[in-house]
Subunit: 314 residues, 2 copies
DNA sequence: CGCCGTCGTGCTCATATGAGCAGGATCACC
DNA sequence: GGTGATCCTGCTCATATGAGCACGACGGCG
């Protein structure tokens, strides 16, 4: 009886979803009462035979968002659908767009927004629309005077977000990582730098991404770390970095000495914030994303479906 | 206005399909009237943002079946869904199952059923249930005394279909292809063979598959043709074979001399039948499937979604 | 053999949804 | 600036669907 009911529910589903027949019509066709048809359809859904997908770059996965909030204790979660995505770039774009949307809809509008920099942040800045806010002051939360070929990306990110939000940007004029601890301490005690960091600490909200601990890292690209530095970090358990600080899968600093030479907000300062928005997407970042969420580095997470499911698996 | 409506329709779809909210509730959430929500949802569907799939081995694609009937003039078409299929074997199995289902449901039940043989037919015979019919006589319609390692597969197919249908099988005791024309003529004039072919001509319905013209062909495997024979046929335009007869993309015999040495029903005899059921599935058979349907070799086609779409493309 | 619990069935009634229509805003064109 | 066509909106009303319930069949168990 179960076998035949299963088949009937499939036949009914075909007529209902593909042929747009009413349950009554299906009943006539299959010689069933319309109530039976309704039950078969409910069964088909419940057993997972029916899959409904929303195919759109802006589509989100609300049930997964809910699970992230409930099971991972996030204040909010934005999960973009991966349906129909073929390239990592597309995924990245969808996520950046979603982050921009989230910022735009954010109430109350933060007066001061602390931001990190990197590929993800840059893309978010590009997806924001002019007038997304009125009068947001943007402040960099980690060092970012860029050494690489595309100088000013970090600056362009912060400035872009600020301009489109009708405010101004405060840049942190410092490298991300210094070679010597003494230099780092010296630079942090510089009046301007200290002032910027102070401002960063007072931000209403933070927006940052995370990097994977691999050779494509922005730190390698920017010249702050060498390929072998990264290898060593991985050796020590690093899964990625947040605002330039490398963490292991529990969210702990992997290399305290290195960390001491890194300029910007500390991770605990980030954790203390009531509104820390992390934007992390892509296969390569599953491990960091997990560390970020587990160790409470963010209160809001913007990510993709595959990454979200990875977080919920463990 | 269109941009924003599109976004709204996606938000509405998320709430409707993923969160099971009513259109009214969605209206409250998005500050819209419920009629507007209904229209947005309709729009999302109509623009193709909503994809509903039935994930089940027995699922069929009724809209595609309809198109095949209407645009390709078939009496009937059965198209199995490819959703969730990963291997060609799985596809083959689904299609065989569907063919078995079709036979089982066929009314009026044919008294005499002509069948070919091959991997597909064998699988269909395995998927049929005992008692699928009461008293069907099965007759082979093309030569099939097997030369290969698995002798009797052809016989097992016909016998299996007959036994499960409560009838008996009549085998055609002849090779598929003879080496010399004279031998073929001699064997066809044999009283028994002639009788079987006569019976085959009188069948109420035919069930057959088609083979691709490649090195995996059953004819190569059985030793009736060599690999180079097949290459030559392909050279001459062959896309595959039906009941052992190789055809080009228009359904015409590719090599009349070879055809004359092939034992069994002719293609025109098949075309004349009011109920000729072809079962053809898989990427490799797209070209033959096309030839079969275009040249009217079958009145009923059982196939998979990808093949069906290929047929409808041209 | 009879009893009771369980399950599936077909109903009533409440609710959700879709079709069709009238009024009003918008826009191009005169 | 007037005027008509067009589109959009929010309605009424008909229909489709889902929730809950009472009945009867079935099967296990005393």
């Amino acid at each position: 009886m179960d076998e035949i009911d299963e088949l009937l529910s499939i036949r009914a589903a075909e007529l209902y979803y593909e042929e747009n027949k009413t349950q009554d019509e299906i009943g006539q066709a299959l010689r069933l009462t319309r109530w039976k048809v309704g039950r078969l359809l409910a069964q088909a859904k419940q057993r997972g035979f029916i899959r409904i997908e929303i195919l759109h770059p802006r589509a989100r996965r609300l049930p997964i968002e809910r699970r992230l909030r409930e099971e991972r204790g996030l204040t909010d979660a934005i999960v973009v659908s991966t349906a129909g995505v073929h390239t990592p770039e597309e995924l990245q774009e969808r996520t950046a767009q979603a982050a921009a949307d989230y910022l735009t809809a954010l109430r109350p509008v933060p007066r001061t927004l602390g931001v990190s920099w990197g590929r993800t942040l840059f893309e978010i800045s590009q997806h924001l629309r002019s007038g997304w806010a009125t009068g947001v002051n943007v402040v960099q939360i980690n060092g970012g005077v860029s050494l690489n070929r595309r100088p000013g990306t970090a600056a362009a990110t912060a400035v872009g977000i600020a301009q489109k939000g009708g405010g101004s940007a405060t840049l942190l004029p410092s490298p991300a990582i210094l070679e010597r601890l003494a230099t780092k301490e010296a630079i942090e005690s510089d009046r301007v730098v200290a002032g910027v960091i102070e401002l960063a600490r007072s931000a209403d909200a933070y927006l940052f991404s995370a990097g994977a601990a691999d050779h494509n890292s922005v730190h390698v690209e920017s010249g702050y770390l060498s390929v072998s530095d990264v290898d060593v970090l991985v050796q020590k358990g690093a899964v990625g970095d947040v605002v330039g600080r490398y963490i292991d899968s529990d969210g702990n600093i992997v290399d305290p000495a290195l960390d001491a030479r890194t300029v910007g907000l500390t991770l605990d300062e980030l954790r203390a914030s009531p509104l820390a928005i992390a934007v992390v997407a892509g296969q390569a970042k599953h491990a960091v994303a997990d560390a970020v969420v587990r160790s409470g580095l963010c209160s809001v997470l913007v990510t993709d479906e595959a990454t979200a499911l990875h977080l919920l698996d463990g």
